[in-house]
Amino acid sequence: MGLATASARRWRPTSRIPLGLMTLSLCVALLVLAPMAWTVAQAASFGLRQGGQLLLRPLVGELAENTLLIVCAATAICAVLGTSAAWFVERTRLPGRRLWALFAAVPLAVPPFISSYAWVSFSPALQDFGGALLVVCCAYYPLIYLPVAAALRGMDPGLEEAARSLGLAPGACFRRVVLPQLRPALLGGMLLVALSVLTEFGAFALLRFRTFTTEIYAEYRAGFDGSGAALLACVLMLLCVICVLLEFRVRGRARYDRLDRGARRAAMRYELGWLKWPVLGGFALLALATLGVPLGMTAYWLFQQGDAATAPVMVSASQLLSACGASLELGLSGAVLTTAMAFPLGLLLIRHPGRLSRIFERVAYLGQGVPGIVIALAVISLAIRAIQPLYQSTLLLLLTYAVLFLPLALVGVRSALVQVERRLEHAARSLGLNSWQTLWRVTLPLVAPGIGAAAAMVFLSVTTELTATLLLAPIGTQTLATEVWADTSTLAFADAAPFAAILIAISLFATWLLMSLYGKSAIPGVAHAGHDHG
């Protein structure tokens, strides 16, 4: 008793950042920065003149044209699709609204390279621009649908009612009253789509559509040195960083806008009349394209006989089992490591807000904007040259996942930490626990559910990740994703099917579990997960 009061007298809450927390956060930030810094350094080895020559060669122009064209087209189409789907679901008496709402969110659980496998095996004519556009639009329009639908739900219906009662037609009301309020959600979603398309690799490679990402991979395969690839990577990183910075701005504003939400009341819904038939047809078509074809084609190929000539390996039960095991093991350990790394950073952001922690936050979120292919290639050459013992090890792959999915984990960790009652910690400290004991016995149990959600999100992303796994998996490790890749790139569609089917099943199940455990709030998280599938 006397001891407790003695230490209570000694302990006072301070705002100083503990040394341990600072060191850990710094390590995490450096880990995120290392692959990017390495890429820039490699590209810089060219010198200004030679680098300029390489950058101004005709191929780069073509790639820039291809990349920008598909980014703009996909963003525009997704914006129209996502917004109209959200409006019909949230603002009309469309029959089967709940079902359509579900169908509009679920495509995010289907990795784009799987839908690209499905489409290209449906018709080889879908290669090139048309097919690529179709696949990315199907994969990423939920990134617009989800935030826009949420914004529509959160809007004050009074504004619209006032506009209508003052004589504005429904169309004009949408344009002049609803759309301006949707702008932050819509713009944020569009930037997410643009970023996802910029960094997409697997889907484009399988559809044989050339963008920066596929060409970086080609350079790596054909070149005897990685600097050419690094140069292209720098151009791509620049485009991505622009998107990320714009998204920071928009996201900041979006949060501000939602503060004045006011009392919630259900918004009025429009009667569609005969129009409901074409709209229903549209929704059915959308569901068919985004879910029907990927699931249907996978099921179709499941029952086709594989051909030994094209299949890299004939499918066997043991092979399925080992791929499954590898995917799950990587997913679990990736989730643990990434969440563990996000924790100190989250703690720093919440407990010690300030300039320093804001810099750390920005650094962590940078990973979101750097394509998986760039990070993976940088990690390989960094490992060969600087950290040989880690080269071709599982740990290196896990660290790469951590860089890629840290933003995802950080979102979950932060929102869990925000809800912790600080007075409980203070009480524990004043009763004589040191800071580590407080963390272990008070804070961690309080945030455990939120951390679990964050880890689950990372698990989902890691199991469906292709690029880094493909390049960094240790010798002999084959995951579900790399098996689908190997089979599809040699046109062995039937052999890819069982792997694709299991992957889709895991992804759908995990998404369902997340949503039912953590409610709708988990869905925007899913939206971020869509990020680095390719």
Binding site: R208, F224, A309, Q392
Partner: protein, 337 residues
Amino acid sequence: MSLNILKQAFQFTLVATTLLLSGGAQAGSLVLYSAQHEQSVNLLTHDFETLTGITVKVRSGEGPELAAQLLAEGHASPADVYFTENSPELMLLEEKGLFARLSGATLAAVPARYNSPEGVWVGVLARENVLAYDTRMIKPAQLPASLFDLARPTWKGKIAIAPADGDFLPLVSAVLAVKGEPATLAWLEGLRANAQIFDDDEGVVAAVNRGAVATGIINNYYWARLHKQLGDSGTHSALHHFGQGDIGALINVSGAGVLKSSHNPDAAQKLVAYLVSSRAQMLLAKSRVDFEYPLHPGIRPDPVLKPFDQLAPPSLTMRQLGDDSQAARLLRQAGLL
């Protein structure tokens, strides 16, 4: 709730232990860096494992990619054997002194002209460069006599190539060896003006077969495989063989060598000797999986291939064909990479 944390901690330890355990190399096992097609390599490694009890772990990749990796890894490389589709990658590693000498018996299993000049790698399989064409879009009489014709303006939009595929680089090296740099560059620039670009030979042959482009430069292997997959009814393309020593009829030699840094050199030598043994070569020839010419004398290739002795490749030694070091530069200069 603290149970959750305990579980996480447990998983962490579990992962750490697995990492430690998987780090150590087992006795009697080999690491093979392979750029050959996985289905062929799987057939071979399984057979080799049952024959010798030596397990083979495979890292698959594109030939130049793995060669670059071996160069970067140097003596720390985990690889024991390198098996690739094209000789220039082998020549590169030979020049850098990464290969150990092979046994005389291994080298003697195939004709000497398909082997390393220094006796450090051995030719295993061969494949032919061909022009695949869509039989609905083009008549045999319209097909070019030489690879060089394809750079002429008359072929604009009618040709597909895969400059980033490991199989295209040796073709560039061959043209360079025979015609010199200015002519090679002019040829590549002509191709760039005419060609649709694909990532790999699979993409080229699929595009030709579906009528997206009239012709495409590939290795014969890819057409045979597509034909096997689609059957006669789905095949709308055929192969045109450049003849009379034209560079277009270049034969690519796929070969293998033992790395100096191998941890298990005896087993590695055994594996390479196995690759050129009549057992392994017969296995591939009869597999209907691999459509390449076995280099072991007297073993008949798959009947879908044009007989090996009827091919008319340009006469180039392995040394003349070189190590592809200039090919990538020329491709970049011509705007193809």
